[in-house]
């Protein structure tokens, strides 16, 4: 357990000291969301209608920008070899990395999403659905992205590639995340959609690190 926290706290320290990387992902999220009213026109009703899709799609795209660095740097500087020799299963290494990724990109987006939703005139009843959906959905994105990041270690154009292979896998998150917000805005129950997200998260927590660990093992050879 100590080694798990060691990896996570090191990644958090690295993220803190290379603060610019972290700020870029979050700024991308903000800038792209703001582009929509500019492209669509400032009609509040129209903005409120597309707000769930805009927030979720932009969050997914912003997350994609951050995945290629997840293992690439460790692979280039030899750190991945050392992690593989720590005696900790690579799946646990991947889980620690995914958790650190979520804390540095998922968490800031959970905080920012409601603020951005205000600028999009999101319906007042929908905020809880947005926040709860992000709380359940962003860890899934981090976990899936960790698998993608492990797969593209050493690939050419790894950044685009990781988006190409991870985005289709995140479609269920997008669907249930936006449906929950829509349901709340229409006064319907959001419970079932959030339960779906929770179920996917519960399945992804053990399965995604396993797949990422297998991918990392292949990358070492």
């Amino acid at each position: 357990m100590g080694r798990f926290w060691a990896i996570m706290s090191r990644d958090l320290t690295l993220a803190r000291r290379q603060g610019a990387d972290l700020a870029m992902t979050v700024s991308f999220f903000v800038v792209v969301v703001v582009l929509f009213p500019l492209g669509l026109g400032p009609t509040p009703g129209q903005l409120a209608e597309i707000a769930p899709a805009v927030l979720w799609v932009t969050a997914l795209l912003a997350a994609m920008l951050s995945f290629d660095r997840l293992f690439q740097q460790d692979s280039e500087d030899g750190g991945l070899d050392q992690l593989a020799l720590s005696g900790l299963p690579l799946s646990v290494v991947a889980l620690a990395k995914a958790l650190a990724h979520w804390l540095t990109t998922g968490l800031p987006m959970i905080v920012l999403a409601p603020v951005l939703a205000i600028t999009l005139n999101l319906d007042g009843d929908a905020y809880w659905a947005l926040i709860l959906g992000f709380i359940l959905g962003t860890p899934i994105v981090s976990l899936f992205g960790t698998v993608g990041a492990a797969l593209v270690v050493g690939a050419r154009r790894a950044g685009v590639l990781v988006a190409l292979i991870v985005l289709p896998l995140t479609i269920p998150v997008l669907i249930f995340g936006t449906l929950a917000i829509d349901a709340a805005a229409n006064g319907l129950s959001i419970r079932v959609h959030l339960l779906m997200l929770a179920a996917i998260l519960a399945a992804a927590i053990p399965l995604a690190p396993m797949a990422a660990g297998a991918a990392l093992r292949q990358a070492l050879e």
Binding site: G87, P89, E221
Partner: protein
């Protein structure tokens, strides 16, 4: 370094590695006993790095087994990883962490507790004359200083087997001498060292030379190649 390793000999039997469709070496066997060293020599592309990675368990050999004493290594890869310290081509240092933080992280990943960690680290940094670099970000160091910081993690580890891939790259004469001293110490306390190196590096009196290139498999005939899967 008043340690004493009571380890079994480390040996490889009939190892073969295929990389990118090309057999790097085949039928390679070696053995290292406690207190002895193995020097991997040979030209570029002869398979020194591949062999060291096989020894570390990072690369799965196409055929053959590694043994620690009598026990095949692949039965307990995590246990094997704990017995060895590996230094690859790259230094494995994060530029924004200080040299000390980098080493401390690696020692922490080995499961060493805080006080042992600090003590071992200070001793290793002193041995390599880089105590003054402890608190500097690794990104600020010169390539020779980085190499020494990476070596410090090996020296400070509690591993019986050191696997060093080109450890002297970028080192000046004084640092090479310091490294030789550390290696001699390690061997004297019953440790084992495997080093791939081009340069003259004194690995003590009980050193065996091994050139993977002499095990290069060039025996495949054209007809064998033309009827295989194209991978082995």
């Amino acid at each position: 370094m008043e340690r004493c390793f009571e380890s079994d000999p480390f040996a490889g039997d009939q190892l073969a590695v295929v990389r990118g469709g090309r057999p790097v070496f085949a039928g390679l066997s070696f053995s290292v006993v406690p207190g002895a060293a193995l020097r991997l020599a040979g030209p570029n592309g002869s398979g020194k790095s591949s062999l060291i990675r096989v020894m570390a368990g990072l690369l799965r050999p196409t055929s053959g087994v590694l043994r620690w004493g009598e026990e095949p290594v692949h039965q307990d890869p995590d246990g094997h990883a704990r017995r060895l310290a590996f230094l690859g081509h790259a230094d494995g240092l994060k530029p924004t962490l200080s040299a000390g933080e980098n080493t401390a992280f690696q020692l922490r990943m080995r499961g060493m507790d805080r006080s042992t960690r600090t003590e071992a680290m200070q001793r290793a940094f002193a041995t390599l004359n880089i105590t003054s670099l402890l608190d500097l970000p690794a990104g600020w160091l010169s390539s020779g200083q980085k190499r020494r910081a990476a070596l410090a993690a090996v020296l400070a580890s509690d591993a019986a087997l050191w696997l060093l891939d080109e450890p002297t790259v970028g080192l000046d004469t004084a640092s090479v001498t310091a490294l030789e001293g550390a290696i001699a110490n390690h061997l004297a306390s019953g440790g084992m060292v495997v080093a791939a190196t081009h340069t003259a590096l004194d690995l003590g009196a009980r050193v065996t030379d091994l050139d993977p290139a002499t095990f290069a498999r060039r025996t495949a005939t054209l007809s064998e190649l033309g009827s295989g899967w194209g991978v082995s």
